[in-house]
């Protein structure tokens, strides 16, 4: 793969990740939105990648942990579990494999799961299931899931809905839109609303006190996006004195730990309510971003302890007016170098194997034919 195609791939990955997070936020917001008070439901909460325990009666994995993409608690007795599958493969075999995996995953969630963030003694929480897909994949995904249901490949006891996210052009603009593609939810009002299509107004979502700042889900973001968030968090958290130093001297060195950064990046993730919710962002993600900053010369390891770094915030640095673009470019270059290195190593290994076989052939001329045959079989 060339650097430009890797750049393009990374840009698509960043966009897909953002769209996934936007879709999860929009769905959570919609499920928790109370039409009467025109506000988020009191006592409701949304969780991304929360750890649930399946019951001993689970059809696939009894007594194990599962981590659905989104868990929304509407009240002490009702909730929704959603799985986001944005971007099915166009290749029919890969699509089929993914849809079967998804069906299995949904069946795992169709269970009396433990781990809902409700107080003891409040009784069992009954949840619906939702699958969130891209509008482009919605038709064929629904078709295939229906066939699986008819054939017995997917049997769900709970209410199940397939929802799509699309970019819908309207006369006054273009909005991401949530829509119901198949099935229904227990709440008939929400089902009807989703069936009528709900335009997501991102500015409203961004201004929400609950979901406004969220940029991360429980899956690792593409590296350039993580770098962009780290860079932003660092600049936003400079002290007044550091900010003044940057403005006057054009440069400031900020020493900090990975833990500190994790704390600053916390508001970019779904709020944690207890230890069942994953810690997002994970330290490994931050370390990966910092490591690339070190490669770029934007940071260095601090001698004062492990996991401590010094960030070099400097004016007029190449690409600082387009941080994400610069990070994509750098990551693509490193990926291309890594790929080239891998290819070189593979080539060298192939040559080495070839030389060894030639030696073997010379040493054991009687078996030369068999060795040549193995040559053809080996990769």
């Amino acid at each position: 793969m060339t650097e430009s195609s890797l750049t393009q791939r990374l840009e698509i990955e960043v966009d897909n990740y953002q769209q996934t997070v936007l879709a999860l936020r929009a769905l959570a917001n919609e499920i928790l939105f109370d039409e009467n008070t025109r506000d988020i439901r009191q006592g409701g909460s949304a969780h991304c990648g929360r750890r649930f325990r399946t019951s001993p009666r689970n059809r696939h994995t009894p007594g194990t942990n599962v981590h659905p993409d989104l868990a929304v608690v509407r009240s002490a007795s009702s909730g929704i579990l959603a799985e986001a599958k944005l971007g099915f493969d166009s290749d029919p075999t890969l699509f089929e494999r993914r849809i079967v995996q998804t069906a299995k995953q949904l069946e795992k969630y169709d269970d009396d799961l433990t781990g809902w963030p409700v107080r003891d003694g409040q009784g069992a929480l009954r949840h619906d299931l939702a699958l969130l897909v891209n509008f482009e994949d919605a038709r064929r995904a629904v078709r295939r899931l229906c066939t699986l249901m008819q054939e017995g490949g997917l049997a769900l006891e709970r209410q199940f809905a397939v929802l799509s996210i699309s970019r819908l052009a309207r006369s006054s603009g273009e909005w991401p839109t949530l829509a119901l593609e198949h099935g229904s939810l227990t709440d008939s009002g929400k089902t009807e609303k989703l069936d009528n299509r709900i335009p997501i107004r991102p500015e409203i979502l961004d201004a929400s006190p609950v979901f406004g700042q969220i940029r991360l889900c429980d899956h690792e973001p593409p590296l350039p996006l993580m770098m962009q968030l780290v860079h932003q968090a660092l600049v936003s958290n400079l002290t007044a004195d550091e900010s003044e130093q940057y403005n006057l001297e054009g440069e400031v060195l900020k020493e900090l730990s990975v833990g500190q950064l994790q704390h600053w990046l916390g508001p970019y993730a779904f709020k944690r309510s207890d230890s069942r919710d994953p810690v997002v962002p994970r330290r490994e993600w931050i370390r990966a971003a910092l490591s690339r900053f070190i490669d770029m010369g934007w940071a260095s390891k601090a001698g004062s302890g492990p996991d401590r770094f010094t960030y070099h915030h400097k004016r007029g640095r190449k690409g600082c007016n387009d941080p994400l673009g610069r990070f994509v470019e750098v990551c693509a270059r490193y990926a291309e170098q890594a790929e080239r290195k891998k290819r070189r190593q593979e080539g060298r290994a192939r040559e080495r194997r070839q030389r060894e076989r030639e030696k073997l052939k010379k040493r054991h001329p009687l078996f030369a034919e068999q060795i040549a045959l193995e040559d053809g079989l080996s990769p």
Partner: protein
């Protein structure tokens, strides 16, 4: 020494002699202000009192830089400047700082080279407390219309879209015959131009004044400073004081309920019907000094994040509506930075009205 140099030297001595009050300073400024020795100034928001300014400029990095401030209410700010051309007393720039605690506005006044040097340094060293304020064309109109009896327009610079709305061109014009304020703004609106600066003549009672005001409220005066100060400058100052509140306390940190309060720049026409405008907006945002723009999704709707390096303010920018740019402040977003961003879009992309985004 030429006559002009001698005149400049005398004017310089008179202006920077000790003045006990604002009125006394304005009277001297009136006398020295001429085409040969114009006076330059800036109106800006200031969150500190005179006493606090003195304390602030005489300490820390400001002290190291060499700031010196004299006076109680009428402050004279001085600082050493290297290699600045046009300073009559090379090596030291001087300007007056007039602080008005009632509307938290201040004015820096001096001869052009002195004012320029002090203004640049004051903004750098008082980043969080000296806040540039900006006026839109409509706000200029609102300010000057009540003065239409005494104020006439003699020239202007304005921006206009051309090349199929793909570029902004700056137009400069000086009128052979002075124009009525209402007529001038009517023509500007008709031709869909938005102001960068306006040149005015004020004929008030027995005095005639003339000067130019830019949209960032820096000004120059060639004649009759006190008249210009009392009328045109006072009018724009009042409007600026009233309108700058819209940028305050919009970030997550300071907003009630921990939610950001978005702003929108709304246009009368569906600007973003043409999706090429998304690209143009990206290009314009990239030219905002000392900031970084990360574009997540350029088309058909625009989703970008802007980081203001000067104070760490962050914004999410959305264009989903054909008639508006939505600006959502992040965890931290200062009024200074938000005002700067909105003015940059208004000045370099297209001027719209700045409103509370409906939620």
């Amino acid at each position: 020494m030429s006559e002009r140099d001698r005149h400049a030297e005398l004017a310089y001595r008179a202006l920077y002699a000790r003045h006990s009050s604002e009125a006394e300073l304005l009277a001297t400024a009136d006398a020295v202000c001429s085409a040969w020795t114009p006076l330059h100034g800036s109106l800006f928001g200031l969150s500190l009192s005179s006493r606090e300014v003195v304390g602030y400029l005489s300490s820390g990095r400001r002290k190291t830089r060499g700031f010196s401030v004299r006076g109680d209410d009428l402050l004279r700010v001085e600082l050493p400047v290297e290699g600045a051309r046009g300073l009559p007393r090379g090596g030291r720039a001087r300007a007056y700082l007039l602080v008005n605690p009632s509307d938290h506005m201040a004015c820096l006044l001096g001869f052009p080279a002195d004012h320029a040097s002090v203004w640049v340094e004051l903004r750098r060293y008082m980043l969080s407390s000296a806040i540039s304020v900006y006026l839109r064309t409509e706000e200029f109109r609102q300010s000057l219309l009540p003065l239409s009896r005494i104020v006439r327009v003699t020239g202007f610079t304005a921006n206009v879209l051309w090349d199929g709305s793909q570029r902004v061109k700056t137009r400069r014009e000086w009128f052979p015959v002075q124009k009525d304020v209402q007529e001038f703004f009517g023509e500007l609106e008709e031709e869909r131009q938005w102001l960068r600066s306006i040149e005015l003549v004020v004929k008030d009672a027995d005095q005639e004044s003339s000067g130019r005001i830019k949209r960032d409220l820096t000004f120059s005066c060639q004649k009759g400073l006190s008249g210009f100060w009392r009328t045109a400058l006072q009018a724009v100052r009042t409007t600026a004081g009233e309108t700058r509140g819209i940028y305050e306390k919009r970030d997550v940190q300071s907003a009630r309920g921990r939610a950001a309060r978005p702003l929108e720049i709304r246009y009368e026409s569906a600007v973003f019907n043409d999706k090429r405008q998304n690209r143009r907006l990206i290009r314009v945002l990239r030219t905002l000094s000392d900031s970084g723009l990360s574009v997540f999704h350029p088309n058909p709707f625009l989703h970008a994040g802007l980081l203001d390096y000067s104070d760490g303010s962050t914004y999410t920018i959305w264009v989903t509506d054909n008639c508006a740019i939505k600006i959502i402040p992040g965890v931290r977003a200062s009024a200074r930075s938000l005002g700067r961003l909105c003015n940059h879009i208004n000045e370099c992309f297209e001027e719209g009205s700045i409103e509370e985004a409906p939620l």
